[in-house]
């Protein structure tokens, strides 16, 4: 029934989480005004965001040592959860019923895939 290691699945989930964090940093940077074009790309926020993104790619490689390939994109769907939480908390976006149902569907699908797959 279970053909994956939970520890490796958690590594991938952590990787997805930190890439969501890097997205927030990029958006924060995009909302700021900069004096020059170069500063738009070469500022601490953007550089750190890409460093995190780079780490996330390495984490996914480590994770694939213990999980099947097909599980990767399924677990990556958790990014919608993080994006929603960040959107509401940091960028004060609205959270409608449809989004909540969508997130519950994503979580249910991941559980079914992982437990019954």
């Amino acid at each position: 029934m279970k053909n994956f290691s939970i520890a490796y699945a958690l590594i991938l989930l952590f990787g997805v989480f930190i890439s969501a964090v890097s997205q927030v940093m990029l958006k924060k940077s995009a909302n700021k005004k900069y004096d020059s074009r170069i500063k738009e790309y070469l500022n601490p926020l953007v550089i750190f965001a890409y460093l995190i993104f780079f780490m996330a790619t390495l984490l996914s490689i480590v994770a694939y040592k213990g999980i099947p390939l097909s599980m990767g994109p399924v677990l990556e769907a958790t990014s919608y959860i993080y994006v929603t939480v960040f959107g509401v908390k940091i960028f004060k976006e609205k959270l409608g019923k449809k989004k909540i149902i969508a997130l519950l569907l994503i979580i249910t699908g991941i559980m079914i895939y992982s437990l019954c797959g």
């Binding site: 790619t57 490689i61 099947p68 994109p73 399924v74 409608g96 989004k99 019954c116 797959g117």
Partner: protein, 149 residues
């Protein structure tokens, strides 16, 4: 493929048009949309290949020649995707683009089967269908925008 994404341009409707011309235009627009849709899916299929490279890299020694080759491919595919996505969302509604992105989950199943002899079970298929419906619902949750394709 790369070039065609960058160069693709949908003609804009002009003021003076005869019936015949506008019908021709509508046909052309539908044709362009189908083309864009195919391009989006080709791009997503190629992008989903980065997972194959990640899993291949997982089986190699860290920083070995093979590892670097696979890692280079991952970075190339991510870059290709970033540019392609930017071009696509200029011409397709974001909701359409995002909901179609869920197809990468299906590609994960297909590539897993082809390259790593992974099994596809009923449980996996049901889980994937539910996750995809969640992603599609999420994409359309914000506005009243109807799917354009």
């Amino acid at each position: 493929m790369y070039q065609s994404i960058l160069l693709l341009n949908i003609p804009q409707r002009t003021e003076k048009q005869t019936d015949f011309e506008s019908r021709g235009f509508a046909l052309k627009t539908v044709y362009e949309k189908i083309k864009l849709f195919i391009l989006l899916h080709l791009m997503l299929m190629i992008y989903s290949f980065s997972g194959v490279c990640s899993k291949k890299a997982a089986g190699t020694t860290f920083l070995s020649k093979e590892f670097c080759l696979y890692y280079g491919m991952i970075i190339f595919l991510l870059g290709f995707y970033a540019i392609g996505w930017q071009q696509i969302i200029k011409k397709l509604p974001l909701t359409t683009a995002f909901s179609n992105k869920a197809v990468t989950i299906v590609w994960g199943l297909v590539w897993g089967l082809i390259f790593f002899q992974e099994t596809i079970t009923v449980g996996k298929i049901i889980g994937v269908i539910i996750v995809i419906s969640g992603v599609v619902l999420y994409s359309y949750a914000d506005g009243n925008e109807e799917p354009k394709l």
